[in-house]
């Protein structure tokens, strides 16, 4: 992520008007305070309108029909690919593969690249803060090939413990799979350093960018990432579409993952020749409308500006840390706000995360409670569950204050001494 030093501001209150759902009142009269953006974001009118217009005016299957409507649909689908390519700083449109999400993108690499390049005794390196979707595909690869999974540990503050480098990196390391940003802690990982070190031993690097692409500018070429996976629904786009970026030479050398229509150049009764990129990895009818909707989301994000988004979220996170840390029984998890994105995770002493989330919901506040698909991380931090408030550019300082007040009331609710009657 490249982050400019000078602060750029945005008017969250004004932008909120573009998001119909953010005007919702729940539990009779409580304005919805949506702070579960790391799970999924909401969509602006511009994306919703694009999806509706696509179905009403331009929809047909892509790359198939010799007819006007199919051309319309195909043009928009391929336009969306170019928008994504430019948004992440990829060199070529065909390095951008449409998948159904980050999970599908990582599984594609594990199945296709992994099965072709990893053998018994080889090593895959992950980190202790990975989401299950960047762990389980590698566990499955290990089951198939007999390779070993090693991991980079984390510190008590929730930063990668890169010091004992030789313990996790070696001549047998084939791939390093790492989150750009932790979905629980918000920690921004030093990708440049890890990629350089991995490349020095000939390993390739897959970046799980699901939590970084929506929140700060991405430059995959400058970063020298080999694979880069993210989801549309965490960046204002429709659910059901995600992206796998891969370097052209790597993707070219990989066998197709799924077989079917679109991914072939020619099929004989006794065999097939795969198509070129990107079709080789897009078997079957792709998520046409979600992809076009993602293109509209990229337009919207470009208009707001990724630097402004990053700066605004940092302000929200700093305020959240400042207010929450003062509350009795609250313990913040993860590094200080300047080392992370817009995620504030915390636990309340002797109040389970689910009870916190349930009581915050009464105030109209939506946060995530649980292990956030990162069980090894919670085990490392000796937590059974945690609470996560995650921000996006449409959240306001006022909402952060309402969160803090509601947490205070939750603490008071459980502080009352009680005896069974």
């Amino acid at each position: 992520m490249s982050i400019a030093n000078s602060e750029v501001s945005l008017d969250a209150q004004c932008l909120r008007a573009d998001f119909p759902i953010l005007g919702t009142k729940i539990h009779q009269d409580k304005p919805l305070v949506y702070l579960d953006n790391a799970a999924t974001t909401q969509r602006p009118r511009q994306v919703i309108d694009c999806v509706v217009e696509m179905y009403q005016e331009h929809y047909a299957n892509v790359h198939r029909g010799i007819h006007w409507l199919s051309d319309q649909s195909t043009d928009r689908f391929e336009d969306a690919r170019k928008k994504v390519q430019q948004f992440i700083g990829a060199e070529r449109p065909h390095e951008v593969i449409f998948t159904t999400g980050t999970t599908a993108a990582i599984n594609l690499v594990a199945r296709s690249w992994g099965d072709a390049n990893v053998g018994q005794g080889d090593e895959i390196v992950v980190t202790e803060m990975e989401h299950h979707s960047n762990l389980v595909p590698w566990h499955q690869l290990a089951e198939r090939t007999g390779c070993t999974i090693r991991h980079i540990p984390i510190t008590d503050n929730g930063l990668l413990d890169l010091d004992p480098s030789d313990r996790w990196l070696g001549q047998r390391t084939r791939l390093v799979a790492i989150a750009a940003v932790s979905n629980v802690l918000g920690t921004v990982n030093p990708l440049e350093e890890i990629i350089a070190r991995a490349h020095a031993v000939g390993a390739v690097v897959l970046v799980d960018a699901a939590q970084s692409v929506p929140h700060a500018a991405s430059e995959v070429t400058a970063l020298d990432a080999d694979f880069f996976a993210f989801s549309g629904h965490k960046m204002l786009g429709p659910s059901g579409v995600g992206i796998l970026y891969g370097k052209e030479n790597l993707l070219d050398a990989m066998p197709p993952f799924m077989g079917g229509g679109s991914m072939i150049r020619r099929v004989r009764i006794d065999g097939f020749e795969p198509a070129g990129l990107p079709a080789k990895f897009e078997a079957g009818t792709p998520p046409i409308v979600p992809a076009v909707g993602l293109g509209a989301a990229v337009d919207y994000l470009n208009q707001v500006g990724m630097t402004a988004i990053h700066d605004h979220e940092r302000k929200l996170t700093q305020r959240a840390h400042g207010l929450l840390a003062k509350i009795d029984r609250v313990r913040m998890i993860g590094p200080s706000p300047d080392l992370k994105t817009g995620i504030a995770s915390f636990v309340l002493d002797r109040i389970h995360a689910h009870d916190v989330a349930q009581l915050l919901d009464r105030h109209g506040i939506a946060i995530r409670a649980g292990h956030h698909c990162a069980m090894p991380l919670h085990k490392r931090l000796k937590l059974s569950a945690s609470n996560r408030a995650s921000f996006y550019f449409y959240n306001t300082l006022d909402e952060v204050e309402r969160l803090a007040e509601a947490i205070q009331e939750t603490v008071a609710f459980f502080a009352k001494p009680r005896k069974r009657g």
Binding site: H352, M375, H378, R418, K419, R420, G421
Partner: protein, 146 residues
């Protein structure tokens, strides 16, 4: 706080949560079981002292949300003194009724964790205790059935 059936933190629930019945370990327990709900991290262990087909004592320990811990307290209080057969007949619906407030499907899992654990504990004699009285009631021993 309103006390309607939508209110999952009714006073009696909070009372059990803050001031639980038989939380801790049971001296000379004959049966025990522990399980968790990995999705939310709730853990419940239950220890029983069974004698002549009856639950003489029931204790629980655990870690987790208000719903799981309060329901464990209610459950051990309810089933203590009951026969093993009565405890087996205590169904999931009975547990939800005992808890009181209506729960969403997600929170029902919290409420039913202690119930699942006690049902398994009835069949889980502590090692070396297979000859104790509790296996001597009519029918196959619980240890053999499990």
């Amino acid at each position: 706080m309103n006390q309607d059936e939508e209110e999952i933190y009714q006073e009696h629930v909070l009372d059990h949560y803050e001031d639980p019945y038989h939380r801790g370990s049971c001296d000379n327990a004959t049966h025990e079981h522990e399980d968790d709900n990995p999705l939310c991290g709730d853990v419940i262990s239950i220890q029983l002292k069974l004698k002549a087909g009856r639950i003489n004592e029931a204790w629980f320990d655990g870690d987790g949300c208000c719903v799981s811990q309060a329901s464990a307290s209610m459950l051990v209080e309810e089933l203590e003194g009951k026969t093993v057969v009565e405890a087996q007949r205590f169904a999931a619906e009975d547990m939800l009724k005992l808890y009181g407030p209506r729960l969403t499907p997600t929170r029902q899992k919290c409420c039913l964790l202690p119930w699942r654990v006690i049902q398994q504990a009835l069949f889980s004699p502590i090692n070396g205790d297979d000859d104790s009285d509790d296996n001597h009631f009519a029918g196959p021993s619980l240890g053999e059935e499990s």
